[in-house]
């Protein structure tokens, strides 16, 4: 029983990270229709923004975290200008390959800047453990789950209770109608990229202390985020969250009860199964063609 609690906590913490990465990915997709294959690198950049502010510049934690998130917002805006705008009229495959190409550049730029040794990001809960029904659980892992829930709550508030959030949802529903209603579509699209980047940044800052930061961490995260999005429902935020938690739990519990070598096959197998049987995932609406 204690073991199960331990596994569940780790699975949930892992799932939270995947959920946040998936959220960043889904925000961009819903608003702009872009399948961002550099989503994993976004998280990696977030982690290294933390490395730059907390380790290299040695700033105190609150300022360091804030600084890293500001950097991520700027990064999102830059990505919008340099990658999205020039490619916005291109067919979907071109955009996919474009994001992949930039992902390669980001990875190698990070390697050149930070070197190939992994980094250890400090956590505000460094070394703290608590006992939970016989299982010893790290406070950081719990904090990650809680923080993810808070972020999701804030995101919901943004999207449903603020003007800009409602405008974003309008753009996601129908770009032409939004434009006809007088909404500043380009600005909202840029804001979506910024928001997506900040979400990825939060994911990166939270998993830095759990996993160690290294420049190659992006691709595996992207794959899991894609699986999470498909399972939860493409374009759906609750779906991204549910999918993320599912993939995280499946990974840890699958390793424990089925097979540690083949556990990744479980997540991808379920993803393919969903694609074949229920492509809209758990929460998604039926698939429509995007404009």
């Amino acid at each position: 029983m204690a073991d199960l609690i331990q596994l569940m906590t780790n699975g949930l913490a892992l799932g939270s990270v995947y959920a946040l990465a998936a959220i960043g990915f889904v925000i961009v997709y819903s608003a702009t229709g872009v399948v961002n294959f550099a989503a994993g690198q976004f998280v990696m950049v977030g982690t290294f923004a933390g490395v730059a502010t907390l380790l290299n510049a040695g700033l105190p934690m609150p300022i360091g975290y804030a600084g890293a998130l500001v950097a991520m917002a700027l990064f999102g805006a830059l990505f919008y200008l340099v990658v999205y705008l020039p490619l916005r009229a291109s067919p979907i495959v071109t955009v996919i390959i474009g994001t992949v190409a930039i992902g390669i550049t980001l990875q190698n730029a990070a390697l050149l800047t930070f070197g190939s040794w992994p980094f250890r990001l400090p956590s505000p809960f460094e070394g703290m453990m608590i006992e939970l029904a016989g299982a010893v659980v790290s406070v950081h892992a719990l904090a990650v789950v809680v923080a993810t829930a808070v972020m999701i709550g804030l995101l919901w508030l943004l999207l449903h209770r603020t003007v800009i959030g409602v405008a974003m949802r309008a753009v996601a529903q129908d770009v032409k109608a939004a434009r006809l209603m007088g909404l500043r579509v380009q600005g909202l699209l840029a804001f979506s990229w910024i928001l997506g980047a900040v979400m990825a940044g939060v994911a990166g800052l939270m998993l830095g202390p759990m996993w160690f930061a290294d420049v190659n961490m992006g691709d595996p995260i992207a794959l899991k985020a894609f699986a999470a999005t498909v399972i939860g429902g493409f374009g759906s935020l609750p779906g991204a969250i549910a999918g993320g938690f599912f993939v995280g739990l499946a990974e840890v519990l699958g390793a424990s009860y089925i097979s540690s070598a083949y556990k990744d096959l479980i997540a991808f197998g379920v993803m393919i199964l969903f694609l074949l049987v229920r492509p809209q995932g758990i929460f998604g609406e039926p698939i429509q063609d995007r404009g």
Partner: protein, 329 residues
Amino acid sequence: MASRALALLAFLGVGFALSMSVSEYSLRLLNLAAISAVAVIGLNFAFGYAGLISLGHAAFMGLGAYILALLTTRAGWSPWLAAAPAVLGTGLAAALIGLPLLRLKGHYLALATLGLNVSFGIVAANWIEVTGGTNGVARIPGLALFGHALDGERAFLWLALAVVAILAILASALQRSRHGRAMMAVRDDETAAAMSGVNVTAVKVAAFALSAVYAAIAGCLFAAHVRFISPDDFNFAHSITFLSMLIVGGEGTIAGAIIGAALLTFLPEWLRGLGESYLAFFGLMMLAILIFMPRGIMGLALGLAARRRRPAQSHTQATSAVAGKAVRP
């Protein structure tokens, strides 16, 4: 017809001339480019003609390569003989996988094929008894023609060029046949194609299976050339590379497939001089190509050629010739 024959002769001529004049290192790169060209011409069926976004192409190449490698190293078959089950088996596997999978479209299909590629890698790396795990399969025998071993890059290049030429001719014949037109109809508008009596599922599965057959041939060539394969040689990064080659070269065109394969094989090597940052530059260059040459190199070339053929005349005619996909050779 004449321009096609001319292009083929030019290809063979240039290939032969290069094979006699460049260094061993460049010959090796040419061989890698030729192998990639076979794979990308195959991908052209699935993506260029039928519009299926396949991010799992490298897995089919891997399947063909592994079947050949295992049959030759474990069961002592000759590589020529082993190529048959490798190619046919892969085609069959693709057809079976395609039946349920090809109902998906767009990025859903992309993600599904990506998932397949990743799954292939996981199985290849973990099923040690069969595949040797990450240690791969070594000491694959090289090819020999009529008793002469095709040792050395030059001899292999001649074989590779011949294979590319034959496969390109077949691909071109298919494209001009009604099967090819059926694929392009499905790509352009599935509903309209169905209403014209095209069996959409059969066309898609056929395109997918055909692309897998070409990928398997590329896999066999790869295995016989490098003589060592491991799961990493067929990971999803390679699938994305193949798709990039097709797009950069010009999707929907066979010439584009070959040009894209050659360019993206040589470009990273040319950029080696930049030292440690060459991969970062490669990514930026790819992005620039996508932004400024969205129809790929062949798209650019055909656009220029069309504009030159009709100088002042109806501008609309020229632009529609460029825009119309049906004009591509």
